[in-house]
Structure formats: C-alpha cells, structure tokens
C-alpha cells in the first residue's frame, strides 16, 4: 500500500519520460509527419534532454520547484505548440503541488487536474479535437475515480495510464480541429494524434515510477 509520491519518485518519473521519448523519438516523428510538421519526436527528446541536464545540475528539494523547473525548461527548449502546452502542464502542476516534499494521492490528482486545466486554458482544446487533451482528460478522470473508489496510488496511476492509452487510440478516426493537422481536414482521419501519443507515455511512466517507488 503506497500513500504518496516523493520528490525522488517525481525525479524518477521525469527521467523515465526522457528515456521513453528518446527511445520512441522516430515513432512520434513518424506520427507527426503524417498529419503535422514532422518534428514532435525530435522536439520532445531535445526538451526532455534539457530538463534532465538541468535537474542533474541540481534538483530542487520541493515538488513545486521541481515541477516548475521542468515546465520552464520545456517552454524554453521545445518550441512549436508542444513547448507551451507541456510547459504549462508542468508549471500548473507545480503551482498546485506547493512547497512540499511528497504528494499523497489526492494532492497528485489535484496537481494533474491543474495541469490539465492549464492545457485547456492555453490550447483551448475540447474533447475530440484530436489533441493531447484526448489522452490527458480521460487519464485525470480515471485517476480521480480510482482514488474515490479507494484504490491506492499504484493502482490509480495504472488506471490513469490505461485511460490515456485508450484515449490516444480513440484519436485514430478523428478529424483534427486544432493545430497544423486541422488544415488537412478529412485527410487527418486514420492517423493517431502525436500529442496524445506522447501524453500517454507521460502517464505510463508516472505509473511505472509510482509502482517502482512502492517496492
């Protein structure tokens, strides 16, 4: 039974996310070249490398400072639309988390909810627009539902990761209504949204980091 995520687990999450976007860089870029401008994998890998370099040079001791550092580094290194969107996600998570060294299930869920609200405020996306929202929103809902149902953090973050993956897969037939993909109209259907794919990796690595730190 695991009750909270500490800064070491958050740091582990960030490292895992860096590793997986690096490993899957070509896949993310391939998804993006079908309906966007073929730079999502390279941009996310470059951004997360910058984040890890920054944290390796001296990781903040509190959750808010750690998450804000991740956000500001992504904003200044990713570019395109993903930089401000992922940057805002982490900045808002940090603002919600506050100057603590660990987050319990409720605090983690509130922090991710704040991050999701930030993405919506920044990108104005709605459900079904074929964006990262389509993976992030069901994941946050699943996290809340699991915690309300009494699940522990490991089970709750796993449920969130599964909901994200289902949301990502559901973007396949959608016609994009936001971002560069929207210029393609009907031609954007039949392709996974690259943003929902990287967001699913983010939720999957959170579940892995949570599971690992509970051992």
């Amino acid at each position: 039974m695991m009750a909270s995520v500490d800064t070491a687990a958050l740091l582990d999450w960030i490292h895992r996310f860096r590793d997986v976007v690096t490993e899957k860089r070509d896949w993310l870029t391939e998804l993006d070249s079908a309906i966007g401008d073929a730079d999502h994998g390279a941009n996310m890998a470059r951004g997360m490398d910058a984040v890890v370099a920054k944290l390796d040079a001296g990781a903040p001791a509190t959750a808010d400072e750690l998450l804000k550092t991740v956000g500001m580094t992504l904003v200044s290194s990713v570019g395109g639309a993903s930089g401000p969107l992922y940057g805002t996600l982490f900045l808002r998570m940090g603002m919600s988390a506050g100057p603590v060294t660990e987050l319990d299930a409720t605090a983690l869920a509130a922090s991710l909810r704040a991050g999701l609200d930030g993405i919506v405020a920044r990108g104005k996306a709605e459900a079904g627009d074929k964006t990262m929202f389509d993976a992030m929103a069901p994941a946050v809902d699943a996290l809340d539902a699991a915690i309300a149902g009494g699940a522990d953090l490991v089970a709750a973050t796993e449920a969130a990761a599964q909901a994200a993956a289902a949301g990502r897969d559901a973007t396949l037939p959608l016609v994009a209504r936001k971002g560069r993909a929207s210029y393609l109209g009907e031609r954007s259907a039949g392709h996974l949204d690259p943003g929902s794919a990287s967001t699913t990796l983010l939720l999957e690595t959170l579940a892995q980091a949570t599971a690992d730190s509970s051992r």
Binding site: G79, G83, G87, Y183
Partner: protein, 330 residues
Amino acid sequence: MKKLINNPADVLDESLRGVALAHPELSVDFENHVITRATPKDAGKVAVVSGGGSGHEPLHGGYVGPGMLDAAVAGEVFTSPTPDRVQAATKAVDRGAGVLHIVKNYTGDVLNFEMAAELAEMEGIEVGTVIVDDDVAVQDSLYTAGRRGVGLTVLLEKLVGAAAEEGQDLASIVELATRINGQGRSMGMALTSCTVPAAGKPTFDLPDDQMEIGIGIHGEPGRHREPLAPASEIARQLVEPILADLDLTGPAIVMLNGMGGSPLIELYLMYGEVAALLEKAGVQIARTLVGDYITSLDMAGCSLTVLKADDELLRLWDAPVNTPGLRWGA
C-alpha cells in the same frame, strides 16, 4: 537539393551573422536570435515586435528599422521562437509605452507569443497583440486552427510601424492593427515545393506538369492540385477567392509576392494579370509592391494580397521607412 550552406544545423546562426555584418544599423542578439535597431526609437513611443519561424526572409528581420519594426525574433526554419526569446526581444525594445506583438496565426506562434506576453506583463511591460489571419485558402475556420497569417503581415508591419513612429498609443495601435487585419486578404500558389535545409529534400512532391493552389508559407498542402495553367488562369484563381471573401472595391494596397524561387520578370507578368482583373472588379489600386517580401525558402510561385485602404492607411503607407527589406522617403 543544392544549397548555399555549410552545416544544415548552423544555417540560422550563420545567416544572422551575415545580417549583422551587412547591416551595421541593426543589432543582432545571437543568443536569442533577435534582431533590433542599433539605435532605439525615442522613449515614450510604442515598440513593435514581430517574429516566427525563419525561411520567410526578408520577413521579419529585414523589416527592422525606423518606420517599421523595433525587433524581430527568428525561430528555427518554420519553427516558432520560444517565449523566453520573444520576451527578451520585448524587454530589449520597450521604451515605456508598451509593446505590440504581431503574430501570424499558427498554433505554435500563437501559444509561444501568448506565454511571452504573460512573462513580459509579469515584469511590468504592457503588451498588445494582433493575430494576422488573412489566408483565404483555409476555408473552414470554425473547425480548423483558423486562417493562416501570410502576405498581409508585411503590409501590417509597415502600417503599424508608421503609426508607432508617429507616437500613437498602444490601444490605438492595437485597434489599427485589428482593423487592417479585418480588411486585407491573401491567396497563394506554388509551382514547386520548398526544401528545408535540415530535411534536405522537398517537403512535398509536385510533378513538373502540376501546380498547387492555396498554399501557405511552410510547404503545407494547399486547397487543391491541378494541371499547370497559363499565368492569366493562375491570376484568376488568386483573385477570385479573395474577392469572393470580402468586398474590396475602392482604393487598395496590393502586393504580388514571390515565394522565393520565381524570378521578378514572372512576378511582374503576374502582377499585370492580377491588376487587370482587380481593376475590372472595381478595386482601385492605390499602392503596389511586387517582389519577394514573404517567402517560403526556395518555393517557386506567388501570392496576392489585397488590403482595402483609406486616406489614413495611405498616409501611413507613404510615411518614411528605412529597413533592409522596405525603404522609401528616408
């Protein structure tokens, strides 16, 4: 594709180095990829900042100078600059009267400039924003990221630059910029794709006997593809959707713009065709630009921009401007 480059990764830095050497009247911040005037405008005047991905030269860096922009932020080729760099430009040129951000309507540009404006406002700099979305090739604006910002950006930068130089305040300049965006429209076409240096091959395949109608400025696909036609027919395909979108009868400022890979002799030929069609439709061409003003790297093709003008806009248009890309009266 043959290019005049060294290492593809160094194209932007090395190009900015050339800009700095060729134009001592400009100042280049190599860390942030920001071009500013070497001599700032007088304190108390609104500063005008534009920017976006590179590859559209002379836009935006070539329009920095008295009568036009105070700073241009250059992103990587076809990639929006990040908020910290836009903020650096904003901070560098603020003269205490606020700063106008001119943003072309692409999701990346809009989001990065929006964050930059928030960062600048946290430091006490007032920022106004105009989002340019003049491309009639994007039809369905409710279910897309909206119309793209293209040729009208050049005319808008000139006009609001003149208003800022006159000493108009930020609210008036935002209003002027919004009005200009509302009464100008553009449409473009391509004979070839373009080649991003880092990619090394054309962004899309366009056979020798085909042309792409309704292109943007990043090698995005257009409205449709069809067999290559004579200039008179291409002119009709540029003029008609613009006039169908907005009543542009009366005085107008018209730009026939080259996409980077078409010679001036063809651009003037095209201008002759579109001018005849526009005049016939009741557009009175009051001022004209013909040439490469907002390009898409080495793409062959052209775009047409028509801006409905009045006495105030013509006065601002005729005001002195002294930049590498646009210069008169100075």
